[in-house]
């Protein structure tokens, strides 16, 4: 089973990289991009086959290491 963890900055936390990307898009002529938030994607290959067990395990990994929940939020997506 594969897990895709998306880590982004919490809403309200200033994201200077996102702003720089937004400025660059604007410079290229892309109009109407009102906000950009960037983050990272972490892909895990898991031995676990039970979805709910995997979900719980990956969420614990997020809390322990993959995300810093002081400033970041995470989303876990599982697939076969």
């Amino acid at each position: 089973m594969k897990a895709k963890v998306t880590v982004t900055l919490k809403q309200g936390v200033l994201d200077p990289q996102g702003q720089a990307i937004q400025n660059a898009l604007s410079g290229l002529g892309y109009e109407g991009v009102e906000n950009v938030r960037q983050g990272k994607v972490i892909e895990l290959d898991l031995a676990e086959t039970d979805t709910s067990v995997a979900q719980t395990a990956v969420e614990k990994m997020c809390e322990d290491l993959l995300a810093n929940t002081v400033i970041e939020t995470y989303d876990v997506e599982l697939s076969e």
Binding site: V13, L14, P16, L65, N68, V70
Partner: protein, 222 residues
């Protein structure tokens, strides 16, 4: 005074901090991150600057989960003195020993220069030799020094006089101009600027000397 300097792959201020402590007569032991216990009877643990584990994932994140870090957290919980400078500050926030997080500098640039700091409290072993409100010149060298915390945490830090140093001219966007903070028991200090780079007149000034001398006052007489 016995000092342990934690060393991670990518630490690069470990010898500087060791020299700063040796100059005030401390006995310094370097402690590799794979150790699971600390040398006996340490008075202070120093976590040096650098780029532990290449700043992979987040600055300090992997170092904070190294084998030695459990011993570090236990040491701090027992009331030990801990000093984290630059990457060391990032590691301390990642262990949870200090609140908040260090984010990328607001202007996304690495900053390496001398900065003026204001001593915000003299109520700690680290800062008691300074004068409240004193301006000191200490170098910074970081890309992720933008201190960030939620409003409640910032209020707690302010209300309990736990901001050790503030930037006079905020270089990185840090909340409340924070350059360094203290733990609740005032024995754990994390700061982005490098006092160990300001202990020699020939190299970056001497405004960091009272910082180390202050620790000796408290720990050698104890």
């Amino acid at each position: 005074m016995k000092v342990g300097v934690l060393v991670f792959p990518g630490s690069n201020c470990d010898r500087d901090i060791a020299v700063a402590f040796e100059r005030i007569g401390a006995t310094v032991t370097m402690v590799w991150h794979k150790e699971t216990s600390l040398p006996d009877q340490l008075d202070v643990i120093a976590i040096p600057g650098g780029f532990s584990f290449g700043d992979y994932l987040r600055c300090g994140a992997i170092a904070a989960r190294s084998p030695i870090s459990k011993a570090l957290v236990d040491f701090a919980h027992r009331g030990g003195y801990v000093l984290g400078i630059c990457n060391g500050f990032q590691i301390l926030t990642e262990t949870g020993l200090l609140p908040g997080a260090l984010m990328q500098n607001a202007k996304l640039k690495f900053l390496g220069k001398s900065t003026d700091l204001i001593v915000s409290t003299t109520e700690s072993a680290f800062t008691h030799r300074y004068v409240q409100g004193q301006s000191i010149s200490i170098p910074i060298a970081h890309h992720e020094g933008n201190y960030s915390a939620n409003p409640e945490t910032l209020k707690t830090l302010i209300d309990n006089d736990r901001i050790a140093f503030r930037y006079k001219d905020n270089p990185n966007g840090a909340s409340e101009d924070i350059a360094g903070i203290l733990s609740e028991n005032r024995r754990v200090l994390g700061m982005m600027p490098h006092p160990e780079r300001a202990v020699d007149a020939a190299l970056g000034g001497v405004d960091g000397q009272p910082f180390f001398a202050g620790l000796t006052d408290v720990l050698v007489s104890a």
